[in-house]
């Protein structure tokens, strides 16, 4: 520590005490607690729409490529999007999820192909998924506001409340690199200040609708509206499974000591698994 080098031991001790005494009131004032749930809290949840179970996301029919629901990009972004679409069509996707970082919003709603589970507990709703090494997203329902300066994250900071029978979620605090996706091979970073609102409603005994509005003023000419329909499954075969995004990068093997280890599998530039003897050299197959 720089302090260690500059101050004698006794001075360091005094400084430490002063720092602790000075910071303690600040820490207390800035750390509101999560209260223990009461019977009334659980009763309130029991009377709300039942989101339990595992939900399969349905077709992406509300914003087919080129359809009326596609995002309206700013002109300078639209040009870049066209180039990305061209590369994808030519078999050279500029993969938006290739590095296994979390997808974040809105992809975890609009691009997701895996099951989703909502855990409703006092003060928060936890949304679990089967990607990103098992996705976890928190929606605070305890009335707290967004932080004034949230740490940017992939899924942002979400606060929610029930509006009649609809769960309304407001999210800010995204990393600017988080993509607004058109497909698994074409997406564009939100470039900052993205704001997402969602509305989740039960539309039948086992169906759910999630409407999402994405406002990204640095890349979109107007907020993008999309919707997803989910189907609920109660069968235990649908219970969420562990799903690591990186596991497929490795083969199970044994080291020289007989210990079980993972060894890397070679991949092509686009992320496809390759035969081990063709990691770097294309063969003379018919597609050259």
């Amino acid at each position: 520590m720089i302090i260690d080098a500059l101050l004698p031991a006794r001075s360091r001790a005094r400084l430490s005490i002063a720092l602790v005494l000075g910071l303690a009131p600040l820490i207390c004032a800035a750390a509101p607690a999560n209260p223990a749930p009461t019977r009334a809290d659980w009763t309130t949840i029991a009377d709300q729409p039942d989101l339990s179970g595992v939900w399969s996301p349905g077709p992406l029919d509300k914003y087919g490529p080129g359809g009326a629901e596609a995002p309206h990009w700013l002109p300078q972004v639209a040009q870049q999007i066209d180039a990305l679409k061209g590369l994808d069509a030519a078999g050279r996707p500029q993969n938006i999820y290739i590095n296994c970082l979390p997808e974040g919003l809105p992809s975890s709603v609009t691009q997701n192909l895996n099951s989703v589970e909502f855990l409703v507990t006092p003060g928060r709703i936890t949304i679990l998924g089967e990607l990103d090494g098992n996705r976890l997203r928190r929606v605070w329902t305890d009335g707290r506001p967004h932080p004034a300066d949230p740490d940017p994250s992939f899924s942002g900071h979400s606060i929610g409340h029930w509006q009649d029978k609809a769960l309304v979620i407001d999210t800010i605090g995204f990393l600017p690199e988080v993509f607004i996706p058109l497909s698994q091979g074409v997406g564009f970073p939100n470039n900052g200040d993205m704001h997402v609102t969602e509305r989740i409603t039960l539309t039948g005994p086992d169906s759910l609708r999630q409407d999402i509005v994405v406002d990204a003023p640095h890349v979109l000419a107007a907020p993008w509206h999309a919707s997803r329909i989910y189907t609920r499954h109660r069968d235990r075969s649908f219970d969420l499974a562990e799903s690591s995004c990186r596991e497929g990068d490795f083969l199970e093997s044994t080291d020289a000591h007989g210990n079980a280890v993972f060894v890397p599998v070679p991949k092509d530039a686009g992320g496809a698994t390759l035969p081990l003897d063709q990691a770097n050299t294309p063969s003379k197959g018919t597609h050259q």
């Binding site: 399969s56 996301p57 994808d88 296994c100 192909l113 990607l131 497909s183 497929g248 063709q278 197959g285």
Partner: protein
């Protein structure tokens, strides 16, 4: 030592001889596979790599068209979590099973492709990507 383990060790031994591509890239677009030139050929199952985000069927084949004999990586378009809901399991095939595979090959000519369907020669059973009720089907 099980046959499957021997297969994996053989694969690993091969891997030790070649440089490994540096990047780790799991979840990805399937644009590198060509759906306009589907292929169908006889092969022998090496292993079913039961991993997220894409399971991989490893098969060995003799000379196929202009492809040299060797091991093929056939990527399934989704994860074990979804495949299990479609009726697959990590034991759907086993090492040594003779199969007829149907794939969309990789555009650059390497022995890799997108798995479309496999028919078990012994029983005629067809393994294909199934559907999950109400869900958007994978590619």
């Amino acid at each position: 030592m099980t046959r499957r383990l021997r297969t994996v060790l053989a694969l690993v031994a091969t891997a030790a001889l070649v440089p490994i591509a540096p990047a780790a890239q799991a979840h990805h677009s399937f644009a590198m596979f060509d759906p306009t030139k589907p292929m169908k050929f006889d092969a022998v199952v090496q292993s079913l790599q039961w991993t997220a985000p894409h399971a991989v069927l490893w098969v060995a084949a003799g000379k196929v068209d202009s492809y040299d004999p060797g091991v093929w990586s056939l990527e399934l378009p989704t994860s074990p979590a979804n495949l299990a809901k479609m009726g697959w399991s990590r034991n759907s095939v086993k090492a040594g099973d003779k199969v007829i595979v149907e794939i969309n090959p990789m555009r650059d000519g390497r022995r890799a492709g997108q798995f479309k369907r496999a028919t078990l020669t012994a029983t005629g059973q067809v393994l294909s990507i199934g559907v999950i009720p109400g869900a958007q089907p994978p590619k």
